[in-house]
């Protein structure tokens, strides 16, 4: 029985986000074929520029796949179109409170299904990637992204490619040309360091990227449209940060800590492309924050003051999702905050700037210089800052097999943790979801002993 099911149904926003993620295929098909919109493939949270064009839709390619969705979630999705999500989830909460066993079981099945479906689809993408020739030596993230593009990339008009410090990432993007899709490759180079007039060069690179998007779109670039999107994107970021910092660092949670992690994991995945609809996503995440606050204010939730806060990072490129459940069982609570670590949750400084392109250049340069970093010294500083800001009592570092970038700095990080944070830390090896759960359980068991 899922430990998260009880709680998730209280958040209509979560069901809505999950539904929008899982039902991406139908929605995207409709957009592409009926509404004649064009899909642009993105990876990592680099979708913002695409939203400057009304007929272009950014998509993390996994969402073009068909997910095995619990039939009741499909039913709920359809019902929500008539009654609204609030009423649907209130109804679920009501029937659950009645304690009708069969219905309870169904509800739990639905929720458990959402999380496991996404994770197993990621594993399926990993397998497709490997079957199609990508070496098993690469990290989970790249293998699964490769699988997504091999299987669904052909549906996209273009790939929007940003260069970052990870050479695997840059070369993976180049390799997309070789998989036989006719999609256009749009490249935007982020200069490795912010020296001289590098920011100006980045601004120009973005402008050129926009010109290439314009060639695909039936619309001309509009600064107003992009500015408007950046305002929406900033609202998303603000709500996301409040969830990460205000809610997850508090002593009272609106749900049990494992549920909270499931929500954070869902946010982490869906943030890549905002489920292809930024305004809807903004509404959902704003609602999510309100629902969380509302429950806390009413005293509905769980006292977590006695549970040590364990930051699990990095997890965006693949991690064992059972970690937070295990930590919960062992008396702790897990925290996730990768996108802020990489500075993707910083505001796009649109309010101070007249030109949205310049604002976005500043945002990207900031992420590159202070988040994901040009080197491990910067990157480890980012980990430390995140742990400090989240008031973490411990840190579980996910050492992803084949990752030569963001998870290849544990020695340096461990030293900084000892010197600056004085909290326990542990490195867990990860290759594929579900592959090593018992070993993870044993290691986390030993780690959590320190808090007893």
């Amino acid at each position: 029985m899922s430990i998260v099911a009880d709680e998730l149904i209280r958040f209509s926003s979560v069901l809505k986000m999950a539904y929008n993620f899982l039902h991406g295929r139908d929605e995207l098909k409709r957009k592409k074929f009926r509404e004649k919109k064009k899909l642009i493939s993105v990876g990592l949270p680099f979708s913002d520029l695409v939203y400057g064009f009304p007929d272009l839709i950014p998509v993390l390619p996994i969402r073009m796949h068909e997910f095995e969705i619990h039939k009741y979630l499909t039913y709920l999705g359809s019902s929500s179109k008539i009654f609204g999500w609030d009423k649907v989830t209130n109804f679920l909460g009501f029937v659950k409170d009645l304690g009708i066993k069969d219905i309870n079981q169904t509800v739990e099945d639905i929720i458990e299904n959402v999380i496991t479906t996404i994770n197993s689809k990621y594993n399926e993408m990993y397998d497709i990637g490997v079957e199609n020739g990508i070496s098993t030596d690469f990290c989970y993230g790249v293998k699964s992204l490769y699988g997504m593009n091999v299987s669904k990339g052909k549906n996209c008009e273009a790939n929007l490619n940003y260069t970052i410090r990870c050479s695997t990432w840059n070369k993976y993007l180049e390799s997309l040309k070789a998989i036989g899709n006719a999609s256009k490759q749009i490249w935007i180079e982020i200069p490795p360091r912010n020296i001289g007039n590098a920011l100006e060069l980045l601004t120009d690179n973005i402008t050129q990227g926009i010109t290439e998007l314009e060639e695909i779109s039936s619309y001309d670039y509009s600064a107003n449209a992009l500015r408007k999107h950046f305002q929406t994107a900033n609202q998303i970021r603000q709500s996301y940060k409040k969830i990460i910092y205000d809610i997850s660092t508090s002593d009272f949670y609106p749900c049990n800590p494992a549920t909270f992690c499931e929500i954070l994991a869902l946010l982490n995945i869906s943030f890549h492309d905002y489920n292809s609809n930024a305004i809807r996503y903004k509404d959902s995440i704003t609602l999510l924050l309100d629902e969380m606050k509302g429950r806390i204010n009413k005293g509905i939730g769980v006292d977590v003051s006695k549970r040590p806060k364990i930051l699990i990072t990095p997890m965006f490129g693949g991690w064992e999702p059972k970690c937070h459940e295990i930590i919960y069982e062992l008396g702790g609570r897990a925290l996730y905050g990768d996108w802020d670590l990489l500075r993707f949750l910083d505001d796009i400084p649109i309010s101070n700037m007249t030109d949205p392109v310049e604002a976005y250049a500043q945002f990207l340069m900031n992420a590159n210089s202070h988040g994901i970093g040009a080197d491990n010294d910067t990157l480890t500083d980012s980990y430390i800052k995140l742990a400090k800001n989240m008031k973490a009592d411990g840190l579980v570092f996910v050492q992803v097999f084949g990752c030569h970038s963001v998870s290849n700095c544990y020695t340096m990080l461990r030293e900084k943790i000892r010197r600056e944070l004085e909290i326990p830390s542990i490195a867990l090896n990860f290759n594929k979801m579900g592959e090593n759960v018992e070993q993870v359980r044993t290691r986390l068991g030993a780690f959590m002993e320190m808090y007893k």
Partner: protein, 376 residues
């Protein structure tokens, strides 16, 4: 033994330079490092072109994950264990952290941080657009500034231009050697030694008699084009290929073509007023470098195809391609299956040979190479 001698002599060479008051700047980066700038600043560039072994790789695991590229692991291990043959590493004053690949960044950073070597930075654009060239120029100017601080004086433009000409002539010489009729092992030894010493070795290169190769001309062996990762000093891979009946005719690797083809045209040198622009121009012309995106693969395929066709026209035989992939190399590994498939479609035999530096691999590598040569 030959390598021990080479490295021991190199130690003496560097020691002598140090005694003259010169400082040594080392770097791992395979490409695009402007060694002319280092030379013009009166410093000695030292390329990390040394193969690893089990001990060196193991020693790096205290710093980076074992799934880091085996070459990067070995570079860290060389500083960590400090084996006698690498004694000259103690003489290094500065180390350039660059971004040829992310393992270059991580390993170079570990070397500067944990082995107390002062750090210099030089990061290279990934694409080859007009703006990327402008950015490359920014990095050149920044490195120049860092080197001038070490030198305590400005680098004179004429001195830099002279260095550019010196390295140009040096590379032209290596190109001549590449075309000489001799065994792959002899060529490789010359390339390795030359890239270690730099243009100081030109007089020695001038005295090699190419008409009478020092080793027997391998008339019956099967000719090979080696692409992918380089064969570094102290690596046994070339021996395995020759023992199996192969001969590397063309080194399409960093130690080899990728280095010596980067010659700046005479008319560009004569017409340029700013030597920094010449270095930028060379970066632009370096279209075969594996650091760059997004056209590396197609250029690599077309380059190998051209070479293969010419070889076939000249000899009536097909050349085999060994794509050497050092374990966990981002650049070579991710493209390997595409490279093989695309060359196969053009009727070119390809062996993707992936390996790390462990001794245990030797037997398996030998079997694979022999089987490939037999299949040819």
């Amino acid at each position: 033994m030959a390598n021990f001698k080479l490295l021991a002599e190199y130690y003496l060479f560097l020691k002598e330079k140090k005694e003259e008051g010169k400082k040594i700047v080392a770097f791992m980066s395979h490409d695009n490092i402007p060694e002319e700038l280092i030379d013009a600043a009166g410093l000695i560039p030292l390329r990390m072109i040394f193969a690893g072994n089990d001990e060196l790789m193991d020693a790096s695991h205290d710093f980076l994950a074992p799934s880091t590229c085996a070459f990067a692991q070995s570079c860290i291990g060389a500083f960590s264990i400090k084996p006698e043959k690498f004694k000259f590493l103690e003489l290094i004053d500065y180390f350039i952290v660059s971004n040829h690949c992310v393992s270059d960044i991580c390993a170079s950073e570990v070397i500067t941080k944990y082995f107390n070597i002062k750090r210099l930075n030089f990061y290279v654009s990934y694409t080859k657009t007009e703006n990327s060239l402008k950015y490359f120029k920014l990095e050149l100017l920044d490195l120049k500034k860092q080197l001038e601080e070490i030198k305590g004086a400005e680098i004179d433009a004429q001195v830099l231009l002279n260095s550019i000409k010196k390295y140009n002539n040096f590379k032209k010489k290596l190109l001549e050697i590449s075309n000489a009729i001799t065994s792959g092992s002899q060529k490789l030894k010359i390339f390795q030694k030359a890239m270690l010493y730099g243009p100081d070795i030109l007089p020695e290169l001038d005295n090699i008699d190419f008409e009478q190769p020092q080793t027997q001309t391998p008339t019956k062996s099967k000719d090979i084009l080696l692409t992918g990762c380089s064969i570094f000093i102290d690596d046994y891979l070339n021996d395995l290929i020759e023992e199996g009946g192969g001969n590397i005719l063309f080194f399409d690797t960093w130690v080899g073509f990728n280095y010596y083809h980067q010659v700046i045209e005479e008319n560009a040198i004569n017409s340029s007023k700013n030597p920094i622009d010449l270095l930028t121009h060379r970066f632009e012309q370096n279209i075969y470098g594996d650091h760059s995106v997004p056209n590396f693969l197609e250029r690599k395929v077309s380059h190998i195809e051209d070479f293969s066709r010419n070889y076939e026209k000249k000899t009536g035989k097909k050349i085999g391609v060994i794509n050497h992939i050092i374990k966990f190399c981002d650049h070579m590994s991710i493209m390997s299956s595409h490279l093989k498939n695309q060359l196969k479609e053009k009727g070119i035999f390809v062996l993707n040979l992936e390996r790390d530096y462990s001794r245990a691999n030797r037997g398996q590598l030998s079997t694979r190479i022999e089987a490939f040569l037999e299949m040819m």
